[in-house]
Amino acid sequence: MGNAAPPIAPAPAEAPSTAADRLGRIAATGLRGARPLRVETPLAEPEWSALLAAAVDERVVGHLRAAIDGGAVAVTDEQRRAVTAAHERLLAIDLVLERLLGGVTTALRDVGIEHRVLKGPVLAHTVYADPARRSFSDVDLLVPGEQFDDAVDALVGAGGRRKFDEPRPGFTRRFGKGVAITIGALDVDLHRTLAPGPFGLAVDTAELFAARDPLVARIGGHEIVGLSVIHAFVHACLHAALGDRIPRLVPLRDVAELAQRRKPGALDLDAVLATAARWRCRAVVQRAVRLARHALVVDDLGPIAAWAGEYRPDRFERAGLRAYVAADRSYALQAAAGVRAVRGVRNRAAYVRAMVVPSGDYLAARDGRYARRMRRALGLGGRTLR
């Protein structure tokens, strides 16, 4: 692959439709430099219902409500009531998840497992001006790899159920992103690292726990400890740029919120870039910043926006990004691309063995057929080794 074309998805491929453009501008409500949409007269059906459904799906109803309350979006009384009801439903879920978070963090603390809370709750309470603007759908926790299996046991002991088996026993604590644990009807995502595939494998997870200035929130009487601002920003970029083939608005808004933080606690560009360089993910930060500017139609993302306009990704980054943003994006492709990020020959061999020869339980739960997986792995192996 040449060095000329940065692997940022070209604008036409991810260019929003008119409805997506409107929702993006709504999701940017309150950001500096945002160009909010003006809806002078209430939308008619079916346009209105589509907008509200999309806002619920993207969990940006709080921003829609703020846009309505601020006079940027005209609505009928009935539409206002529908938005209020939808917002309150999301907020009710947030509260139930925060209660679960308190119980889960207590369960981990009681057995001496270090952890950091990721994304939703901690950002809602420490980065956003109003937590009612940042809804979430699950609880995300990071635990050290060496304590990962103990953390799973603790949550299973607290009534949780692991959703998927591992490719091989011990795989997740060494190489995996994490596992999902279902507790009641709610999900706890237990992370070992911040992303699947090569960029997750390249993260120095010990650094995440060593940070001296984590974001800390008091939620329901519990002290909730998150990542540092720098790490939270890079994580938001990983989530925004790699999490879904069509980027979601909430992580993009997280990127923008963190980029626009003012002193004290303002984002330190040099520290972000140094961290991203160590974790070999500067191209991911670049992609996330560019996506945020594009999707949210916001001009002022600070000095990192200028950097993102000029950075040239290296070979590892270009190959890595392809596993997440290509049309044939898949877990298997990311897993194969991850080989290059695993440090050490023995570790690499163990990683490949787990990918190519997974346990029978794992196959039964996921792919079902060894032969199909073998064919896929061999094909991907050829692509990776080229």
Binding site: R65, D69, T84, H87, E88, L91, A92, D94, L95, V96, E98, R99, P131, A132, R218, I219, G220, G221
Partner: protein, 100 residues
């Protein structure tokens, strides 16, 4: 625990505060709150939210009634009577806790 009877504040009746364990979200039209004693979040409308917010900082029920009577220009006795059931519910679900 039951809330203080109206007028207790003047004689040093108990004061109530938001429980540190309560989870809340505040919007322009409502306050949602959740405690361990509730199955699902409770919704307070604008009046209920005014009562709830009046207990921060900690207050006696009679003090809150007096505050709200002034704010909404309503007779004190009426406000005391109207807020009593809500305060009782908030205490019962452990959203409000006695501080004395």
């Amino acid at each position: 625990m039951t809330p203080a009877a109206p007028g207790d504040a003047a004689t040093g009746g108990p004061r109530f505060a938001h429980s540190p364990a309560v989870l809340t979200r505040v919007t322009s039209t409502a306050t949602l709150l959740l405690t361990d004693d509730l199955d699902v979040p409770a919704r307070l409308d604008d009046v209920g939210a005014a009562v709830w917010s009046a207990f921060d900082p900690p207050c006696a029920v009679a003090e809150v009634a007096a505050l709200l009577a002034r704010r909404f220009d309503r007779p004190l006795a009426v406000v005391e009577r109207e807020i009593a059931p809500l305060v009782a519910d908030l205490v019962e679900c452990a959203a409000l806790v006695a501080t004395d």
